[in-house]
Amino acid sequence: MTTIRTSAETNKEERFKGVVETLGIFLVAVVLFVLFSLLTSRFSSQNNLFNIIKQVSIVAILSIGMSCVFLIGGMDLSMGSNMFLSAVLLASLLEMGANVYIAMLVCVIACVVTGTLNGIIIERLHINCVIVTLGSQLAIRGLALVLIERFNSWIYVKNPVTRYINTGKLAFGLPTLFFVIIVLYTVVGLLLYRTNFGKQIYAVGGNPRAAALCGFNNARIKTLCYTISGIAAALAGIIAACRLGMVNPSVGSGYEFDAVTAVVLGGMSLKGGEGSVFKTLIGALIVAMISNFMTLYGVDANFKDCATGLFILLAVLFNRFTQQHST
């Protein structure tokens, strides 16, 4: 048996601290929710809540990929472009009359390739991840732009399946996208916390030297994280195309920063090896709530970005505050 060294009391205290720490970002979300509901009654209406779920879905799914990359101490700035590539591929394939499921599969495969290439360049050639993904951000977006040019830079996405993804309700009157998020986060949660590979991600991110001496193939594990990031971007792109009902050259641009915001709000460190993907989900929710509230409240479009930024800074400060007081 393991020996219990601390008294029950300190144990309790520490457990309380642990709860506050885990709840930190959750508390931020609750506080914001209450605040926004008080400011505009429409915020907490059922319709608007469904709207928020739909709005959060893209960032939430991107954040899955960004979390995995953050966990190994990396960064993927090409996610927005990958997402754009996937949306363009889906739309153009549908336009050419392809089966919708096959089209989606092609989107995922394409982004698996780009994501893995990112990983290989970063990990095998040892080039800084920010530089590499900044480069591939341009390259991938350029490639997709060439493709969309052939369709006069504007493709409508009209298909029963894509429409169902946007507006459909799967069960209990809840939008399909809600269940998509739940399923994807369950899968990634199981992957990270209940598989060998997930544990290795945390190990490689937390202490790469020790991981290498444990006999782990660090480069392979890290490369696979960039692959996951590609898959997440592909799914986000598909959903973006479904949500918008069309694809134009502005799709996905800047989305990688929303994902970074969500991940950082969720408390993941840039060093890697720390943090939880479920907190990232809450981070994404906060980003979506803030942006939704701004629209509802009728904030001037130019001022909106500024206010969103301020809200995010406040949320991060609050989060840091609770963490400091709990450790």
Partner: protein, 505 residues
């Protein structure tokens, strides 16, 4: 003569370890004084108290007869104490002159006066008799020996009254060491007091005037170098053999097949054609001075360090090991002396830290990637019980554990993996005395189960108490193989690399 610096009754305690107890130290101007002792004797702690990195729990420090408080590194610099650390503190991407004037740059208005700094840097190097160093070159182009000299020039340029050198010669050749001492002699003539820390007794005997010998945090002797010989110094350094560990069990037969054979392992300048055999059921000890190549050799075997040539055979079959995962596959596990940097995943739980490399054996079904958490937990609990690891629970973060328990966590990691060859580099560094004996017992019982245990240590007592067979390395070569037990004096002398001298009575 009055001492320039005097420390009286200095004590310092870390959790579970009495690092220093009532240590007295007297330093005189114009002398080279050596602090002598084995690893963990308290040399570094004592110097860190002087430099203000640590503060003593009790005791007083006098400089020129006046009592002083040293509570920060800035304090010690103000009092005229300059330190050259073992790990050089130069910034490689700056020039020599910039390094020397780092933090006290000479300015001309708002602009840096580079010309003047270069000039002064050149002058201070010349004063030390150091030539052939272009002060406008980046530090990274110079050899380790030259960097050492630059570092000394940097410390000297603030005119310290006391200059402390922490193992400056560990990485230097004999020629470089001689040149270093020529410079130190010059400084000595200027009335600077020099404190010299080294493991190489020959150097100490040859160049120092006096010495303070520490053993387990206590002063065992103050000596004048012209009055003692190396053997007497060694005697003062070694523990009395009270209450020490004794092997209960040793292998008798030597007719077995070697499990692991190394032949002609070579790495330029580090390991010089080493061949040896490791047998199952034995504890094989490797020892030598710091930098004699014993740890690099085993990092090569583990695939953590590349080699230039040489062959590794396991059970008589030649194997290719190019990375640690190869080594693990062939049944070799390595535990390094840097637990924090190279062993633990501090933010992860004890359970994860134990089970990480073995997780693939805990799948729910053969082709399902999901893991069976309860089976992992049970098997970690068994190991924790076997090695009596003290922790709050398996899901506590491993960084909260004490050094000894962290070490046991890493041992249990490789036990779970069921490897045949376990290599321990400095297994008890940073571990308190109680846990030390426990770890020795664990090593012994592992050997009795037929595993091949390799212990690499600079602690001669440890090596003697544990090993069935001892390889002594000097300058990258195995200088001596001891198949029979020996006494500490012989071992200490062999490590110094002068086997032909008949010092032993």
């Amino acid at each position: 003569m009055k001492p320039i610096l005097e420390m009286r009754n200095i004590s310092k305690r870390f959790t579970g370890v009495q690092a220093l107890l009532d240590v007295d130290l007297q330093l005189f101007a114009g002398e080279i004084h050596s602090i002598i002792g084995q690893n963990g004797a308290g040399k570094s702690t004592l110097m860190k108290i002087l430099s203000g990195t640590y503060t003593a729990d009790s005791g007083v420090i006098y400089i020129n007869g006046k009592q002083v408080q040293i509570s920060s590194t800035a304090d010690s610099a103000k009092l005229g104490i300059g330190i050259v650390y073992q790990e050089l503190s130069l910034l490689n991407n700056l020039t020599v002159a910039e390094n020397i004037f780092l933090g006290r740059e000479i300015v001309n208005g708002v602009q840096l006066d580079n010309a003047k700094m270069s000039d002064m840097a050149r002058k201070s190097l010349l004063e030390l008799g150091i030539e052939n160093i272009d002060v406008d070159q980046n530090v990274e182009v110079f050899s380790l020996a030259k960097r050492q000299l630059i570092e000394i020039a940097k410390v000297i340029s603030i005119y310290p009254r006391i200059l402390i050198l922490d193992e400056p010669t560990a990485a230097l050749t004999n020629e470089d060491t001689r040149r270093l001492f020529n410079i130190l002699f010059k400084l000595k003539e200027q009335g600077i007091c020099i404190v010299f820390i080294s493991h190489r007794l020959a150097e100490i005997k040859k160049y120092c005037d006096s010495g303070t010998i520490l053993m387990n945090g206590r002063v065992t002797a103050n000596v004048r170098m012209n009055e003692v010989n190396e053997l007497q110094i060694i005697e003062y350094m070694l523990e009395d053999n009270f209450n020490t560990f004794h092997r209960k069990w040793r292998t008798k037969q030597h007719k077995k097949q070697p499990l692991l054979e190394l032949s002609d392992i070579y790495l330029h300048n580090q390991v010089n054609y080493v061949s040896c055999e490791i047998f199952p059921g034995e504890i094989t000890g490797f020892t030598g001075l710091l930098g004699a190549g014993q740890d690099i050799l085993w990092r090569i075997v583990y695939g953590a360090q590349r080699k230039d040539s040489g062959e590794i055979r396991i059970n008589g079959k030649r194997v290719r090991i190019t990375c640690p995962s190869d080594a693990v596959q062939f049944g070799i596990g390595l535990l390094t002396e840097n637990r924090k940097e190279e062993g633990l995943f501090p933010e992860m739980t004890c359970q994860d830290n134990i089970a990480l490399p073995s997780l693939k054996h805990f799948r729910i079904r053969k082709y399902t990637p999901l893991l069976h958490n309860r089976r992992i937990r049970n098997s970690c609990n068994d190991l924790a019980k076997r090695l009596s690891i003290k922790m709050r629970s398996l899901s506590a973060k491993v960084k909260l554990l004490s050094g000894g328990n962290q070490q046991k966590i890493i041992v249990s990691r490789w036990l779970m993996k069921d490897l045949d060859i376990l290599v321990f580099i400095e297994p008890t560094r940073g571990v308190d005395v109680g846990a030390k004996t426990e770890i020795y017992r664990i090593l012994e019982s592992l050997a009795s189960q037929g595993k091949a245990i390799v212990v690499i240590s600079t602690d001669t007592t440890e090596i003697l108490q544990l090993s069935d067979r001892i390889y002594i390395m000097v300058d990258g070569k195995i200088s001596t193989t001891l198949n029979e037990p020996t006494d500490e004096e012989t071992l200490a002398r062999l490590i110094q690399g002068n086997p032909e001298k008949k010092v032993i009575a």
